[in-house]
Subunit: 327 residues, 2 copies
C-alpha cells in the first residue's frame, strides 16, 4: 500500500477544462486507491463530481485566471481563483501537492508566492522530463526564470539531480550545462561564468551539452536559464510535430504507402508512446514548499490522469525534503 | 550565362578534408561553367588538383587552423592559414566569396577581421536556412554572437530579410523574434527590449516566435542572439537525428517492417531530402564585405559542392550590396 496523499487539482486548468480534468481525475482516483483529490473550481462543476466520487472533495472557487493574464498580478488579485486556492491548500497542509494544466505562468507565480520558496532556494525552477527513447533527461529550467544568475543554475542542477535520482531512479545523475560548444571557454559570458561555477560546486558536473546532446542520452540532467530551456523544449516539440506530420502525409499518399503504414503501425505507436509528452503528465516546479506540478495546456484526460498521479509520486518520493536538505 | 564568379575555397575545411573538398569543388566546377575556384591549402594538395582542373587556381598555404584552436587568436597569428588566406583573397578583390567547412569560429573571426564588417554593421551574424518541408526559414544569428544588444537584432532582421528576399525569392519576408511566449511582454529583459525595438524599427516584424513556430512556416525570418539560435538549430538537428534513428530501428526490427520500409523508401528519401542540411551547403556570415559561407564540419562531397555553388549564388544575388544600402 502506498502512502496516503492529497492533491489539490485545478478543475479549470487547460484548453479542454473542465471536461478532461474531471475525466482525468476520475481515472487517477481509480488507479491509485491511496489518493485523495480536492477539486478546486466553480461549485457547479466540482460539487456534483465530488458527490459522485469517493476520495474526492469539492472546494468551490469563484474566480478564474485566464491564460492571457499577467501571472503575478492575477495571482495577487484573484485570491479565490482555482490556482491560488489550490496552492493555498498545500500551504495550509490540507493537501501535499497541487496540479494544474492551466496558465503555466500563473501556476509558477502561485507556487512561488503562495506555497513559498524552500529555505535557501533563490529561484524555484520548472523541470521537465524529456521523453527521449534513448534515456529520460531532466531539463531545468524550462521557463520559470527567463533571466538567471549563474548561482541559480547551481541550485537548478542540485534540485534536478535530486529529482532524477528520487523520481526516475537515476544513480549519481550526470549534469550538463546547455551551451553552444563543448569547450569550457565557449558560449555567452553567462554560460562561461556558469560553467566555472558548476565545475567548482558540483561533483557530478560533466561539462557542456549542445542542443544536439539534449536527446542523445549523454547527460541525465541538463541545466540552463528558463529562456534557453523553454526555446529548447518547444523546438523539440515543434520538430517532432513537423516530422510526424510529414510522415503521416507520406503514409496516406498512396495505396502502397497505406499498406506500409498498416504493417508498422504498432511499432510506430510504441515509438510515439516513448516520446509522448502526455506520458509524463506534468512538469514540477522544484524548490517550493510542497509539490506544484504543471501540465500542458493541451492536456487530454490521460495527460491529466498522469499529471495527478505524478503529483502524488512527487509527494511520496520525499524529493522536496531531500532538496531542502541538500541544496 | 551567369556572371563570372571567383570563390576561394578552404581545401582543409571539414572532418573529411581534403578528400571531399576536392571532390566537391570538382563537381561544382563541372556544374557551373562561369565559376572559378581558388583552392587554398598545402601545395601538395592544391597544386596537382589545379593542374588537372580548368578554372581552378592553386594558392599554397603553409599553416593550419585546427578545430579546437581559439578562433580569433588563431586568425590573428596564422596569417598563412587556408582560412585567413581565403578571406584575404576576397578582401583584395581577387575572389568575391570564400567557402570553408572548417572551424566555424575561425571562419567567423576571419570573415569579420580579414574581410571586414560592412559600413554601419555592428556585428556580422551567421544565418542558416532551416530545411523545413513546410517552408524555408532563415534563422539568424546561429552562433556568431553569443552576447547581443537589442539593436544588433534589428540589423540581423534586416540582413536576414535581404537574404530571404534575394536568395530565396521571398517577397516582403515576415520577421519573428525567437521568444518564450506570444505576448510582447513575455521573455527575458533582453527579449522584451528587443521586441519593442523591432516593433518600432521594422515594418515586417510580426511578433514573437516560439520554439515550436520555428519550423511551422509561420515566419520567413526568425532572429535571436547567437546563443539561443545555436541551441535551437542544434536541437532541431538532434531531434531529427534521434527520431530518424528510432525509425530506422523500427524498419529493421522485423520482416514485416522491412517490407513496409521497402514500400515507402522512395517517399521517405524525398522527405529526408527536404530536411537535409547538406542541401543548403552552408551558412552565410551576413554583414561582411564579400561572401563568407561556412559549411558543416561533417560535410560530404555533395555538401561541399552545394556550399561552393551557394557562395557563387550569394555573390551573384548582390545581397551584400543590398545589405550595405538598406541596413
Amino acid at each position: 500500500m502506498a502512502d496516503k496523499v492529497t492533491i489539490s487539482v485545478d478543475a479549470l486548468g487547460g484548453d479542454n477544462a473542465p471536461g478532461v480534468v474531471l475525466e482525468g481525475v476520475e481515472a487517477a482516483l481509480a488507479q491509485d486507491a491511496d489518493l485523495e483529490v480536492i477539486l478546486c473550481g466553480p461549485a457547479e462543476v466540482v460539487e456534483p463530481f465530488a458527490d459522485s466520487h469517493e476520495r474526492c472533495i469539492a472546494r468551490a472557487t469563484t474566480e478564474v485566471i485566464a491564460m492571457a493574464e499577467h501571472p503575478a498580478n492575477a495571482v495577487r488579485k484573484k485570491k479565490d481563483s482555482s490556482i491560488v486556492v489550490g496552492c493555498r491548500l498545500v500551504k495550509e497542509g490540507v493537501a501535499q501537492g497541487f496540479f494544474s494544466a492551466g496558465s503555466t505562468g500563473a501556476c509558477l507565480a502561485a507556487g512561488t508566492l503562495v506555497m513559498g520558496r524552500q529555505k535557501g532556494i533563490a529561484r524555484p525552477a520548472l523541470a521537465t522530463v524529456l521523453p527521449s527513447p534513448v534515456k529520460p533527461v531532466v531539463l531545468c529550467d524550462v521557463g520559470a526564470n527567463a533571466d538567471c544568475k549563474p548561482e541559480y543554475l547551481v541550485q537548478f542542477a542540485k534540485m534536478a539531480s535530486a529529482y532524477a535520482e528520487h523520481l526516475l531512479g537515476v544513480k549519481d545523475p550526470s549534469v550538463g550545462l546547455l551551451n553552444i560548444g563543448e569547450e569550457e571557454e565557449k558560449g555567452s559570458a553567462f554560460a562561461q561564468e556558469t560553467h566555472a561555477l558548476l565545475k567548482q560546486e558540483l561533483a557530478n558536473f560533466k561539462g557542456n551539452a549542445e542542443g544536439r546532446d539534449v536527446l542523445s542520452g549523454s547527460f541525465d540532467v541538463i541545466v540552463c536559464d528558463g529562456f534557453t530551456g523553454n526555446v529548447c523544449l518547444k523546438t523539440i516539440e515543434g520538430t517532432a510535430k513537423m516530422l510526424f506530420g510529414q510522415l503521416k502525409g507520406i503514409f496516406k499518399s498512396s495505396l502502397k504507402n497505406k499498406i506500409a503504414a498498416l504493417l508498422i503501425k504498432g511499432d510506430l505507436k510504441k515509438l510515439l508512446g516513448t516520446i509522448d509528452p502526455d506520458a509524463a503528465g506534468g512538469a514540477p516546479l522544484l524548490g517550493v514548499k510542497g509539490a506544484c506540478i504543471v501540465g500542458h495546456g493541451s492536456s487530454n484526460a490521460r495527460a491529466i490522469k498522469n499529471g495527478v498521479l505524478a503529483s502524488a509520486a512527487y509527494v511520496r518520493s520525499g524529493v522536496s525534503e531531500i532538496i531542502a536538505q541538500t541544496v
